[in-house]
């Protein structure tokens, strides 16, 4: 069977004159409503008789719940009801987790045992949020504290207190992949090195917390949901957890999401809120407050220890890598362990490394759960890869840029299959790195650094490159769980041309800042040769819309873009047929000319857009016999180069398209305080054909800002009692205008051969490269002190200690 997909680009280049709108500056259509204050966020949704939720959470890192007295809370005027974990666990199915972990169940409220400080235990529903909080204070929970384990390596050891008593070990997944002849390559190598790295727990922390409004309609037995969600299979998981038919769940995706970057996956919030609505027969709104979000929102990101060995030659060419990673998942692993799976698809970065041993350990501790964070686990992995390349350079005494050049996969090598089985589609890494070098003016930076050092200052230059896989599929599910044979990860778009000839498209996702309406209208405008600003794009609800997997995995330019192209081309084919019939020609003898159709030889009249529209909608007698009336088409696209299960040794085609970037950074460290400031931040970036330059640039800049946060500022810190002590924005430090420097960027376009326009993904690369680039610069600055940093974030305390 042939999988149908729109034909890829042929010789697409940035300068290609055939593009009217693609690659051109164009304002995002979404922005108007936002600057007018007319966005519609989930927290803005209101309904008659709306009630509100407050949460009682566990003060203990690990405790048995002996009893809950809700009588005082229930007696408070304005309180509609109180639900405990016991009730919720009995009445709903466990939330979906992706590893095969018998005995490890996750519910929105803790049942018999609370497993981290901040875990939700009781929910209160009241007429307003303040009253709900008053009542929450009146709930009396009796706890019996249990031993807690906070350190992941201690949690792995024999005799550790179990986080889940029904699971024999805190290790929830442990597998070693070997791709290629690692032992032989290590045995033959002139040099080896080993290093330990630590990526501390942080997340992308959107300014909007998770918000959800759920309304159960007893008349129709339907659940309506408005939520700030960015998550594949959200309606499905709601239906499953609540035990209701999927066609009884209607998720409204015409909700603006106030930032996500992966983390807006409030399935537990949503199941809870939906349950409360059904239980108390009122619409219920739950907007996490910032403390509930930070402590109990289960939105922390990867928390990893890496042990890395590299085998390389005196020439700095790396032959083989051994990477062991331990990920501290917190109490409920959910989907987060798969964040060690996605890096399999770029496990050698941009380098021609012949073999890899990759050992992954997912361990639970008494901390909040993790969720997907920008890059889905690859930011920490790339951090380690790039710092290891710096170590290789230092070991052989070769410039760090040169070591990268020597190891790069070369332009002529594509498509290139890395040891773990993923084929990279295209790229030109040496050229992009060269552009970054020139933009940053590396020679001038070296002079600046050396001059600063000569004057007793501490300065350094950093470099990092990064493969950014885009397109997304869920194949890491099958990779990490043999019981999961998911291989499909489609995206759909429906396009209609109405009786007035105007074009509208339906997409089945909510957007969290990615400007999907702008994307789809640009692509359709290009296909139809009409002004994109005249095209309306709406976010269908989950019952009306086509299959969608949400805007994860830097996939929408690739997937939604090409699904839109596919639907447009189906419509154009139908219209061509209508016009050909009207001209008395065969469709194969007619062509599109602007917005009309004419004979392929260019002679004769043009059948106009409006004439074709009128035939399709009004004058059935002019329609080719047997053709359906109207102008509508849909296209559901399966991910390019996907659909296959992993091999038994874990080789897998992860994402289809590989973007690339190279960052050059110069920093100065205050010798007296350890504070880092930026002297220069420059990068070259290649995400294939650029559809909207401002949007691409914005994605990269935003990712860099997140990366600076992860590199220098942001960390969820637990104290020895398992209390999160960075739960406000005064302590969890996100970069402001002062901490994010001006960034210079140059674009390079190596089109993907797999996509219609040559486009690739762009959402995550900035975040994947920046921590490595910044710490690389810090390490260069620290080199005169004979010391280095191997963790993130690198704090002033860390740096001052090393400059002693």
């Amino acid at each position: 069977m042939i999988v149908e997909r729109p034909a890829p680009a042929v010789e697409t280049t940035a300068e290609s004159p055939k593009h009217r709108y693609i690659g051109k500056k164009r304002r995002a259509v979404e922005h108007r409503r936002f600057v007018l204050g007319r966005g519609k966020f989930a927290g803005d949704v209101t309904l008659p008789h709306l009630h509100h939720v407050a949460i009682v959470s566990s003060p203990h890192a690990h405790a048995r719940i002996l009893g809950i007295d809700v009588s005082a809370a229930l007696a408070l005027p304005g309180v509609l009801g109180v639900v405990t974990g016991d009730e919720l666990c009995a009445q709903t199915k466990p939330l979906r987790q992706y590893l095969d972990m018998p005995g490890v169940d996750w519910f929105p409220l803790a049942g018999a045992v609370a497993r981290y400080a901040g875990e939700w235990v009781v929910a209160v529903v009241a007429t307003d949020r303040a009253i709900a909080e008053d009542a929450a204070e009146l709930v009396e929970v009796t706890y019996e504290p249990l031993p807690a384990v906070l350190d992941p390596e201690r949690a792995m050891a024999d005799g550790s207190p179990p986080v889940h008593a029904s699971h024999p070990s805190n290790v929830m997944y442990h597998r070693t992949f070997v791709w290629g002849d690692v032992d032989a390559h290590f045995a033959a190598a002139e040099r080896t090195l080993q290093a330990r790295y630590r990526w501390h727990r942080s997340a992308t922390v959107p300014i909007e917390t998770f918000a959800v409004v759920a309304a159960w309609d007893v008349g129709t037995n339907m659940l309506d949901v408005w939520a700030s969600i960015q998550m594949p299979q959200y309606p499905e998981q709601l239906a499953t957890a609540l035990g209701i038919p999927l066609n009884g769940v209607r998720v409204h995706f015409d909700v603006d999401v106030g930032g996500s970057y992966g983390v807006k996956r409030g399935i537990k919030h949503s199941v809870l809120t939906a349950y409360l609505s059904r239980r108390f027969r009122v619409p219920v709104k739950f907007v996490e407050d910032r403390l509930e979000n930070m402590r109990g929102g289960d939105m922390h990101g990867p928390d990893r220890i890496f042990d890395v060995e590299a085998a390389f030659g005196d020439d700095g060419v790396v032959r083989s890598l051994k990477i062991r990673t331990i990920d501290d998942e917190g109490a409920y692993p959910g989907r987060s362990p798969l964040q060690m799976g996605k890096p399999v698809g770029a496990i050698v970065g941009a380098y021609k490394i012949a073999s890899v041993r990759y050992e992954v350990v997912a361990v639970v501790t008494n901390k909040a759960g993790q969720v997907a964070v920008r890059g889905f686990g690859q930011a920490p992995t790339n951090f380690v890869l790039e710092l290891t390349m710096d170590r290789v350079a230092a070991a052989v005494g070769i410039d760090r840029l040169e070591v990268r050049r020597r190891n790069f996969i070369q332009p002529q090598d594509f498509p290139y299959t890395i040891p773990s089985g993923t084929e990279y589609d295209s790229g030109d890494y040496p050229t992009v790195l060269g552009k970054a070098e020139r933009l940053a003016d590396v020679d001038a930076l070296i002079r600046w650094r050396d001059d600063a050092r000569a004057h007793g200052r501490v300065a350094g230059i950093g470099v990092a490159s990064c493969i950014e896989p885009g397109g997304g599929n869920a194949i890491f599910q099958a990779l990490f769980n043999p019981k999961d044979d998911s291989t499909t990860f489609p995206e759909g778009c429906q396009v209609k041309i109405d009786r007035h000839g105007t074009v509208s498209a339906q997409i089945g996702v909510a957007s969290s800042g990615q400007a999907h309406e702008t994307l789809v209208s640009a692509v359709l405008g290009e296909e139809f040769a009409i002004d994109p600003d005249q095209i309306r794009v709406i976010h269908a609800d989950s019952l009306a819309g086509l299959p969608s997997q949400s805007p994860v995995a830097s996939r929408m330019a690739i997937m939604l873009g090409d699904a839109s192209v596919g639907a447009a081309r189906r419509l154009k084919a139908k219209m061509l047929e209508i016009a050909a019939y009207r001209l008395g020609m065969s469709p194969s003898d007619c062509v599109w000319d602007g917005t009309g159709v004419r004979r392929a030889d260019g002679t004769g009249e043009i059948v106009s857009w409006m004439e074709m529209v009128r035939i399709a909608h009004v004058t059935y007698h002019k329609l080719p016999p047997g053709m359906d009336p109207g102008l509508q088409a849909q296209f559901v696209l399966e991910v390019q180069n996907s659909g296959r299960l992993p091999t038994p040794d874990g080789r897998v085609q992860m994402y289809p398209c590989q973007s690339f970037s190279a960052h050059v950074v110069a920093v100065e460290i205050d010798r007296g305080t350890g504070k880092v400031s930026f002297h220069k931040y420059a990068l070259a970036h290649d995400c294939g054909t650029v559809i909207n330059p401002d949007i691409v640039r914005g994605m990269v800049m935003g990712g860099i800002a997140h990366g600076i946060g992860a590199a220098l500022y942001e960390r969820f810190v637990y104290d020895d009692n398992g209390q999160l002590i960075t739960q406000t924005f005064a302590d969890y430090m996100m970069p402001t205008t002062h901490e994010v420097p001006p960034v210079e960027m140059v674009e390079h376009e190596t089109p993907s051969p797999l996509t219609t326009m040559g486009q690739k993904g762009v959402g995550e690369g900035g975040y994947m490269s920046t921590p490595a680039a910044v710490v690389s610069a810090i390490n260069d600055a620290l080199a005169p002190f004979g010391t280095r940093i191997d963790h993130a974030p690198a704090t002033p305390v860390d740096l001052l200690e090393r400059m002693r």
């Binding site: 007018l36 106030g258 800049m701």
Partner: protein, 159 residues
């Protein structure tokens, strides 16, 4: 506690309401007046998403209580554009420069930047960064926001 009667002018319209004293100004604007353009990000005065003008001065409306605004005049993002649909030069510049992505911090940014441009019609990039230092954006990395404010300064400030 007893509700408290207040009268406030918001975006030129006088509203009289009875509210509990503990209601924050932002909750009042959003829940009592249905002016949902002002957003709640942290409720502890750090992120700046709730920035509004109170008697012409940008403040954080999550740590001002609505009773305190009795008799005051407030401007929210909905009131920047005189007719609610024609963009001000600043709003237009944010759109033009892609100075936003998800739009959640944007109302606070616009209020803060409007105040800046009233005071300094031609601010430097550093002055813009200073003024907006209390408004956290997680999408943009700030660069296109700074560019938008600079463009607005060139195209007409807050007119």
């Amino acid at each position: 506690m007893n509700d408290y009667a207040i009268s406030v002018i918001v975006n030129g319209v006088t509203y009289e309401r009875r509210i509990p004293p503990r209601r924050s100004l932002v909750d009042f604007l959003r829940d009592d007046l249905a002016l949902t353009g002002t957003h709640v990000g942290c409720e502890h005065g750090i992120c700046g998403a709730c920035t509004v003008m109170l008697d012409g001065v940008p403040i954080r409306s999550c740590i001002v209580y609505a009773v305190q605004a009795d008799g005051a005049s407030i401007t929210t993002v909905e009131g920047l554009s005189p007719d609610g649909s024609t963009l001000t030069p600043l709003q237009d510049a944010f759109v033009e420069c892609h100075g936003l992505q998800c739009g959640f911090c944007t109302p606070g940014m616009l209020i803060a930047a409007t105040a800046l441009l009233r005071e300094k019609p031609d601010p430097s990039a550093d002055e813009i960064r200073d003024e907006l230092g209390g408004n956290i954006c997680r999408c943009t990395g700030y660069q296109q926001i700074v560019e938008a404010v600079q463009l607005a300064a060139r195209t007409g400030g807050t007119r």
